[in-house]
Every structure is written in C-alpha cells, then in structure tokens.
C-alpha cells in the first residue's frame, strides 16, 4: 500500500516561513527541507505539501526548500515529480516551486 505523508506548511511548520538558511532564522527553507521534507520523502511514496494557510513565501525560502532538494540531496526533478504533490489553492506557488526544482543543479554528481 502506498504510504502518503501530508505536510501543511502553515500547520506543521509556520504561517510565516521566511529565510533561506538555518542561520537566517527559525522558519527557513533549509530547516523546512531538512526537518520535514527530506524525512517525509525518505519514508513515503508520496508527499502531499499544502501551501495554503500561510501569509506567503519569500523566494529564498522556496528556492532553498525545493531547489535545495536537487542541489543538496541529488534528487532529480523527475524523481520529485513522482513523489511530490502540491496543494496551492491560491495558485501562486506551484509553478514557481517546479521552476526552482527544474533550474537547480546537483552540487555533486550521483555515483
């Protein structure tokens, strides 16, 4: 049976996510990626990410949270397309997230 994990950014992380790196502040893109997103991707077949309910998202947060999956974890855009489903009823963020994922380059080549 497919294991599905749902993450509501507003409820499980912050209504006001902001910043790129952990050193920027407590609700950064890096923190979200490393502490919620990567564990979910590692243990689940599908991760549903709900973008609703927050005030908004800075580009630094989004790029680091999602582009960083490619850059820091060598996950390809194709693999992420199969494993991530985005809920974005405001229709502001989904395209941008996939654009950041598509533009990100792995920091090192996969073995």
């Amino acid at each position: 049976m497919e294991k599905v994990t749902t993450i509501s950014i507003a409820k499980n992380f912050s209504e006001a996510p902001s910043g790129r790196y952990v050193s920027d502040g407590p609700f950064s893109g890096e923190h979200f990626r490393e502490n919620l997103l990567v564990p979910a991707l590692t243990t689940s077949d599908l991760v549903v990410i709900d973008f609703d309910g927050t005030i908004g998202y800075g580009s630094s947060f989004l790029e680091e949270a999602f582009g960083g999956l490619v850059r820091n974890h060598n996950i390809t855009a194709g693999e992420l397309k199969k494993k991530i489903k985005i809920i974005d009823n405001r229709k502001f963020y989904e395209d941008r997230v996939w654009s950041y994922i598509g533009s990100a380059k792995p920091a090192k080549e996969k073995k």
Binding site: A16, S18, G19, D24, G25, F27, G56, S59, S60, E63
Partner: protein, 298 residues
C-alpha cells in the same frame, strides 16, 4: 568625577530622505548626535522644529537612535515635540519612552494610529503576523502575499548580507532590521531598513570588475539598479539574487505608489503611476539599505 556636559541638538523640520536637501539636514542631525556622543558629551535632542515625518527618514532616525542608545545608554534625552502629531507618533512608536519621556498624549490622530514599528535580529517573519492580519482586511490576497514576500526577502537580505563584517556577538544579538508601516490617503507605505554595509558595498566586495569604476561614489545607484533589475548578487550563485527583482515586479502590478531603495550614496526609485524608474546620487550617504513599498489599499 567630572560632570558630563550636555549638548542640545535641534532636529530638522522634516525627516525625509527624498531630496538632497532633506537628506542633508536629517543625516547631518543624526551624525551630529553620534559625533557628540563619541566626543564624550551627553545629548539632548530638541524636536521643537520637527513637523513632517516621512516613513523613510523617520525609520532611519529611529534605527540609528536605537543603536546609539545601546552604545551610549542614558546619554541621549529629548524634550517633547512642539507639534502634537509628531509627539503622538514618537510616543506611539516608543521613541519618546526610549528618550526618557513619559507618555502624555492620547493617540487620536489617524495619521499616527496606523503606523506600526517593528524590528528583529533574525529573518523570523512571525513578527509580521498581527500586521498582516490587519492588512488582510484591506488588501487583496495576492497583494498581501506579494507584499509579505518582499518583506520576507528584505529582512533575509539584511541577515545574510548587511552585516558580513560584523563580529560573532553582533551577528547573533544585534538588531539587524527595522520596519515601519503607515496607512495614509488610501495607500500603504512599508519601509524596512538595516544599518549594514549597503547594497553597493556588498556587491563591490564580490565583483571582479574594473576597480576604478567601482570606486566612484555615483556608481552606487547603478549597482542598486543592477541588483533590482537583474540577478546580480554578491554571492555569484545563479540560484540566488531573485528577491529584489521580485519586489520590483510586484509593484509593477499597480498603477499608483511605487518602490524605492536607498543605500549609501545611491537610490533607485520606480514610480508606478508614470511607470518610470530613476536613480539619483546623493552627496551624503545613508548607512545600510532602506527599501520602501507604497501600494494602494483596496
């Protein structure tokens, strides 16, 4: 122990950065306070002439004052402003209290009640939550989100770039950014500033371009404009540097208001009504970076 001499310094009539004349008056006033403190004097600020408080100049004054009070505690005092609206505003944002004056006005003026003053040491934007709860009633959802995005990026930039030459203690504990918002005449003005090294210097530190070009003071405006209109970033990393261009794109959706950046000797200003942009060189520099949005209320 010799008694510390107190020098009185008179604040200018207008707190604004918009023109060379206003900027000269305001920065001379602020720098004079700092110079006197460094020279061992106490300072009493007289607000007797002060009448016009514009968000950009007032925020810069507030930020510099807070920093000076940290360095010289108890060494800066003031009288009460003669203008009652100015007194209400300085009381409302806490400046009069910091200068040792008790609150004595009721905050009744509409131009004061809708000012908000916040500051932070990190890019934690949870501090904006109450503010945006208020804005949600007055702005469309896409505008709220767009404004939040810009503000989040502005404080993130302050944390990441502005204080790259600070020591470890300063990087952890010192206030990094200050924010004003004001509602007036159907528009919302939001200003965020830091007192760091400034956009031009941050970019110059990482660029390998012609040094002669880079050392001319009037190039500050060009560097700010480059940062706003492209992905020019002090990190030289292709996936970064999107914040300032996104801020400009957001304001271009409107037909009123605009977007301004002041940093060191330069500025970049986009006027949404005329859809024109301009840059300016200022003889006297402002420390750090100040970003201002002005957007229409619904």
């Amino acid at each position: 122990m010799p008694r510390r001499i107190t020098k009185t310094i008179v604040a200018p009539e207008s707190f604004s950065l918009r023109s060379n004349a206003y900027r000269q008056n305001l920065m001379s006033f602020i720098n004079d306070i700092e110079h006197k403190l460094k020279s061992g004097f106490s300072v009493k600020v007289s607000f007797i002439k002060t009448k016009h408080l514009v968000p950009c100049g007032t925020l810069l004054f507030a930020a510099r004052l807070v920093n000076m009070l940290l360095l010289y505690p108890g060494k800066i005092t003031s009288n009460y402003p003669k203008d009652k609206v100015v007194e209400q505003l300085f009381q409302h944002i806490g400046l009069l209290g910091l200068l040792g004056n008790s609150s004595r006005q009721s905050i009744t003026d509409d131009s004061v009640r809708y000012w908000h003053f916040l500051s932070g040491t990190t890019a934690d934007a949870e501090i904006f939550k109450d503010l945006f709860r208020e804005y949600k009633q007055k702005l469309k959802e896409d505008v709220t989100s767009g404004l939040y995005e810009g503000m989040s990026e502005a404080i993130t930039n302050s944390i990441q770039h502005a204080y790259s030459n600070a020591n470890e203690h300063e990087r952890l504990h010192k206030t990094k950014w200050w924010m004003f918002s004001q509602e007036k005449d159907g528009k919302l003005s939001v200003v965020i500033c830091d007192l760091g090294i400034g956009i031009p210097k941050s970019l110059k530190m990482k660029l390998s371009e012609n040094i002669l070009y880079l050392t001319r003071r009037n190039v500050d405006s060009k560097l700010i404009a480059d940062a706003v209109k492209s992905n020019r970033t002090s990190t030289n990393l292709g996936y970064r540097g999107k914040g300032l261009p996104d801020m400009l794109d957001f304001v271009k959706n409107f037909k009123v208001g605009g977007f301004s950046i002041y940093s060191l000797h330069g500025s970049y200003i986009y006027n949404a009504e005329t859809e024109k942009e301009s840059t300016e060189y200022y003889k006297i520099q402002v420390p750090g970076t100040l970003i201002q949005w002005q957007i229409p209320l619904a």
